[in-house]
Symmetry: D2
Subunit: 122 residues, 4 copies
Amino acid sequence: MAPTLEGLRQRLVEFAAAREWEPFHTPKNLAAALSVEAGELLEIFQWLTPEQATAVMSDPERAHRVRDEVADVLAYLVQFCTAVGVDPLAALAAKIERNEERFPVPGAGAGGALDVKPDVGE
Amino acid sequence: MAPTLEGLRQRLVEFAAAREWEPFHTPKNLAAALSVEAGELLEIFQWLTPEQATAVMSDPERAHRVRDEVADVLAYLVQFCTAVGVDPLAALAAKIERNEERFPVPGAGAGGALDVKPDVGE
Amino acid sequence: MAPTLEGLRQRLVEFAAAREWEPFHTPKNLAAALSVEAGELLEIFQWLTPEQATAVMSDPERAHRVRDEVADVLAYLVQFCTAVGVDPLAALAAKIERNEERFPVPGAGAGGALDVKPDVGE
Amino acid sequence: MAPTLEGLRQRLVEFAAAREWEPFHTPKNLAAALSVEAGELLEIFQWLTPEQATAVMSDPERAHRVRDEVADVLAYLVQFCTAVGVDPLAALAAKIERNEERFPVPGAGAGGALDVKPDVGE
């Protein structure tokens, strides 16, 4: 059966509890760790051309690293959310709704791809 | 009904398609954007003491920023995974299993909290 | 004789040229690499208490990592500046002047330490 | 007269002292702030094509942001080094020497540009 985010969250809670790692899992430390792991994911791509980056998963060693860093980022994001009491899925649903208002779909005929993507971060 | 990660993923795909933003959503660009947003989440905490950081959600303005940055990080992670064809939940499940082998639970009586947490990143 | 930033910059230019690494040193790649290395520096501190972090240089292995990551961050910053034609010392001097206007020194008696430091980034 | 890194360092020390910001300038906080600012520099480039990124300084608004973020990164790097007692120029000089041994210049005729640049971080 496919894992759910909530199921994985509970496994991460148990994993940390069994190893007495909770004292390290403060919001500030977890935000730092999340940023560090996002940097490790970016590291895989830093010297690649756009073409090499698009084909990253065709290299088995890089593909493993990508999956591994994705897991680390998601793990720390989930643990951060647990530490501060935020539901990440609800937060994302709310953000998508705000962005649908902030960035209306261009009307028919308005057309034309953007030169530079607007920043959806607030 | 509570949103699912897959449901949100589909909304993000439609959101980008409707605005013709797909050309920007290369794996390398999304990995960079993920790292940038993780930095923005960390920024909230950078000058806070551990105590202030733990109470971050009791300040409504900071609480909003936290939820907003969590949403941005999750959005870019999901979009990155879509771009490279990785299932983030499967990747995290596999990583938890590897970590359960790499970091066995200390036996009864081994005890004692760690001075420094080992790095679970590979 | 103590090295200067300009002298080190020239050695980095020669180092990359001799190894034919210039094609990789685009502004975008170097900005990514700089961010990745700043993450590696932060990694050293992510699970440390403020007290452990303050004493970081008393541990020889950590002290070596700190110096090594500082060097990597400075190297990529200098190489980024070379790629875009920015003088980092002039940029910092100009920023300090702007910040001296933006954050006037509190008058005598205004006193009192801040609860949270204002963000000097613009 | 052109500013020196040491001269700017002293101005940053005085700037922070006059505003009673030293309590915030712990090694851990400064490492986090450095990483955050490196992310803000990367943000300028995240959606740019390599060609747009190379021409970044021809856009006056982006050029200002680049110089501003370079200044922030350098400021926090210098303040971090002050907090831990590291000389950044000496650290970089030592690293260049180590890298000259780790990555010998290819002999005449060995030739050929690399497909992927090796990682000079240790």
